[in-house]
Symmetry: C2
Subunit: 402 residues, 2 copies
């Protein structure tokens, strides 16, 4: 089979490919810090040069932030978009690094040989596996396997502010049959997998106001409704005793797993017990009769991410606070509608308020879940390729959140 | 009646008495700040000198902190102890003062003539009313009305660390038939009253631990029990729907009001509505069928004074925290036993913990309620004197907390 020559070429080229990756890793392209603006630009230039040498029609495209790198090759067959990002996270605290984060080292570890350096696993390493695969193909076959659009950004680690505007402005150019994204986690180092489901996220901040000012609990204790108590009652009522979320209509659009996915996930032999033990737990706390894997990938959640009110310093102050606050987030699946859930949540909270209490809300994002329709034959082709290469059946998996 | 001459003398002496008080108010005896140690000493010296001139056998007595002023007069009749304090609170923020806090001013205000300066109403003003009353008596009568022990401290505003040790060391000297304490609030500026009940205070801080470290809610949301949720359930369960506190045995030792006190308190015509409106409320939130006055003075409470956990800064972080914390206090009445309540509270919380969660407690004080047995005829004598002077019936009242 003709792929064997390409795979052999990849193996032969490993030392040179590694050198190229190390070269890219040495560029401190920290997108969130303006001090590294020229380095982000340099990383984009590096990619443009490397892809040009490979024969890609590629250019650096300006945005209000860091540039996009966009390239095209091929003129027949299915059209595939490849997304990756060349920017990295800040490196502090520096004293937790054994080496300069931008002087990457190849090290032998109990997990095997690793490259230790900022960006090696997020996302320059993944990005270059795709480039190197194509390089080998091109060198062996002299042409491209299909039409491919490269779409590499430099703002992923700082919230991708230019991404959607750029995609809208260049919608025709970026429209393809399918997109490959190399920026989710590895499920488990020995099991190949394709992420086809990503949970959505809805955030709400709420402030309960009771009395109009902070009071002395010796004077008003018992008499003035304490907003911490009201907030606690609201939070306590968001789940029933079986772990289900009580907001009206919350489970509208939550699908049950298909038999096919259920079988695949069971086949992963995920170690639920170790997953819990790693963080000091022995029993899953969520909905009854759901496995942890199912809960992470395919069930919605409601979590309090922060709560505060009254005196929180050392010692004691017998204040009866005027206000209490919480930040609450929901992970969404299937076709759950974030805006409908926001509305139902706010209505439920408002209905629970006792006399003299008020609530105000602040929204923090509202994105529905993403799911790929993997009945498309390209998914099975990809899964087969992964399974063949790893010699372990690849699975379609979910991702709890990005 | 011979008291008239004494009262007339007090009126005649008002300008000189006011000058003496202003002189004492000018001493910045801030007990909590070591920079004012010499000033605290100076205030004690001032009192020793003033009482000596009046003929009291008085001395400044050292403690590990600021000195006590102890004096004795009289050799027959009932033995009365008079307690007051010469230290004051810090004065910051200074920009909220119209004048130098230690340059006291006599001002006409909508409330009448007032002395504006630090310590004028806590506690130098009250302290000097007692001294001036005795001065007038002595000057008119040439002798003392009864045996009197003066006991004036300089650490009340910084927690009175030397008070109990000093009282224990000098128990015989300080033992009297009755004590007058001039350091509670005025119930209402037109109504004389004697505080005979002071609620006790029990403080508890609790920390709920769930997972052994902070987690990403995209990975562990729904699966790992969120300690904020556990804490909220505990707080929500501390009151039932009628406002009663649910801790087992909590109401043991809570007395019902006597008919006499109930009648006196109703006679005060306390404006419950205004009391609530002043802080933006319209309905009392505590136990049903209790008036706010009854709740403040004679009913126990359970309040959350502080709560915190997870991310509380700007924006959003989808953390699932390992820990959540609360500070909870109880106001106690009658013969409620703080240590039994602490034990029952801790047992109740521990029983509510779901699997994998732990709780730790830190105590913050435990003092039972104080109550005077006002069947002693001296109480009625004092109440009659107050009623006569004000020409309004004086009441025995409570105090929600000090």
């Amino acid at each position: 089979m003709s792929l064997d020559a390409v795979l052999a070429r990849i193996d032969d080229d490993l030392p040179a490919a590694t050198e190229r990756l190390l070269d890219l890793l040495r560029i401190p392209s920290i997108s969130t810090d303006p001090a590294y603006k020229a380095d982000c630009d340099r990383a984009a230039d590096w990619l443009v040069r490397d892809l040009s040498e490979l024969g890609v029609e590629v250019s650096k495209r300006p945005t209000p932030g860091h540039p996009m790198v966009v390239g095209h090759v091929g003129d027949s067959g299915p059209h595939l978009l490849f997304y990756g990002h060349y920017d990295v996270q800040p490196v502090d605290p520096l004293d937790l690094w054994d080496n300069d984060p931008f002087d990457p080292q190849i090290e032998e570890t109990p997990k095997g040989t690793v490259i230790r350096g900022r960006g090696s696993s997020d996302d320059k390493g993944q990005l270059m596996t795709f480039v190197e695969a194509l390089r080998a193909w091109k060198n062996v076959k002299g042409d491209w396997p299909c039409r491919i659009t490269f779409f590499l950004e430099g703002e992923e680690e700082s919230g991708s502010p230019s991404l959607v505007p750029f995609m809208k402005e260049n919608a025709d150019e970026l429209k393809t049959d399918i997109a490959l994204i190399c920026d989710t986690g590895l499920f488990e180092s020995r099991t190949p997998a394709i992420v086809t489901m990503l949970r959505g996220l809805l955030g709400e901040e709420l402030t309960i106001t009771g009395p109009s000012l902070d009071l002395h609990s010796g004077m008003y204790g018992g008499i003035a409704m304490n907003p911490i108590r009201v907030l606690s009652q609201i939070i306590a009522s968001l789940h029933d005793e079986t772990g289900r979320i009580t907001i009206p209509g919350f489970y509208d659009g939550v699908p049950e797993l298909s038999d096919e996915l259920e079988a695949q996930w069971q086949g992963l032999a995920f170690n639920h017990q170790k997953f819990l033990e790693d963080v000091g737990l022995s029993e899953p706390a969520g909905e009854q009769d759901r496995t942890p894997l199912e809960m992470i990938w395919s069930r919605p959640t409601c979590e309090v991410n922060g709560i505060w009110g009254g005196y929180t310093g050392d010692g004691f102050k017998t204040v009866l606070p005027s206000r209490a606050h919480a930040k609450i987030s929901f992970r969404l699946v299937g076709t759950q509608d974030p805006l409908a859930i926001r509305e139902n949540f706010r209505a439920m909270v408002s209905e629970m308020l006792p006399p003299d209490c008020e609530v105000s809300f602040a929204p923090h994002g509202a994105s529905g879940a993403s799911g790929a329709d993997f009945s498309d034959p390209m998914f099975e082709a990809a899964r087969k390729a992964l399974s063949d290469e790893w010699n372990i059946p690849a699975a379609y998996i979910g991702c709890g959140g990005s």
